[in-house]
Amino acid sequence: MMSPFLFWIFAILMLVFGAAVIINRNPVASALSLVVSFFGLAALFLSLDAYFIGVIQVLVYAGAIMVLFLFIIMLLDLRAEELRKINWIASAGGIAVALALMFQIFSVVEKFPAAKQSFPPLAKPAPDDVRQIGLLLFNNYTLPFQIIGIVILVATVGVIILSRRETR
């Protein structure tokens, strides 16, 4: 478990940089803000003793996917993006919708009886979450796991075929 102080630091870090992703005009700055946001999220996972998910978060999202994003963004013309004017009406509308949604969620959650009382402390964490996840994936959920694998394989093959056709 983590002290509330650290929880607030990482939660605020995550939210601030998450907002920076959409506020920044520069796509590279947005991408890097997203990376920092992922780090905050990973730290929150670690605070819940979910080491595996936390590390995979950094490994897959920050380490691989965002690098590919950055790779693409670097090839764009950034000047055009930076010069674009902010559409204030659309932004205000978006913020209003988001606030309305937040209000709705809060009002629904407030009705739950569980929201009134504090959570019971977590049971003593499993000693080895990697092993637990592995056992669960390969014993109980073997078929879904294999299907996901095949779906990803199909997607990969599809991408290769599409990119081939383009170059011809």
Binding site: V28, V35, L59, V67, M74
Partner: protein
Amino acid sequence: MNYVFIGTSLAKIIGLLGFVLGLMNYAVYAERRVSALMQDRLGPNRVGFAGLAQPFADAGKFLLKEQFTPAQVNKFYYFLAPCLAMIPAIITISVVPFGSTLFGVPMVIADINVGILFVFAIASLGVYGIVLAGWSSNSKYPFLGGVRSSSQMISYELSLALAVIPIFMLVGNLRLTNVVQYQIDNGWLIAPFFGDWTNPGKWLLAIPMLISFVVFLIAILAETNRLPFDLPEAEQELAGGYHTEYASMKFGMFFLGEYIAMITGSAIIVTLFFGGWHFPGIPDGSHGWIFGLINIAVFFTKVCALIFLFMWVRWTLPRFRWDQLMRLGWLFFFEIALVNIFIVAIILMFVH
């Protein structure tokens, strides 16, 4: 949280960091001497006895040079990139057990149960420094270096991760201290010469482990941008690649970051394949602090031997061409590592 834990952790962090930074400086010196000797030259031998004070002279030169910033760069990312190149390499070593115990304190900074995944996660961030350096320099050659680097690192990360899966199938745990303990009980993975060495199953397993080791070593070479995979900086074709536009200590941080990455890469190889701090016949730290120190010395001796191997390879092999590098990574090492996993699974199923 007790104060003993915090105190010992701080001591370990400061000690290890200081040692690794010192080792890094002398790795630069060693690189220059080794390359010179392999080319029938002498190398730097003037500053201090046999040139041993050369790292201090180099550091002084880096720090005192003009902090030159080209006009057209993207300032913030231009200054951020050298830090991002160096930090992940340093953080990685925190999960590597570099000794047994000293006065009852385990010689590893963070013994987490996702050890090797943590290593890969942090190591994969090293690419940001190079990509950002290439992009923010706003210049052709650095940009090409950055583009090459990002595709190269992503490609070889796959082989890197797949190459170690057989080890964890064998050990059954991602914790690096457990990997070392397994090797103490059953012999080093690369060479199971002690314990019950007559067991044919162990010898059979040594073959896929050797394949694993070769793939992992080559992938580490690619990840640390060492020759024959130093395409991101390729002096002859890219005029220095991603750090073309950098001068003084900012260049120095890229340069030293490469060496730290090399040290941490060697440390991980030693932990995974060469038994970590273990050497046959030397007891661990619970038999007295002197053995604890010897264990640490054994570990770093192995690391230095591997660093020498890196240098030896660098001054022997020419650089790959870009398409050759990609074909090698995707069509060769990827497949070998994948097949290797199945071989180990079959051996484990029928022999153990």
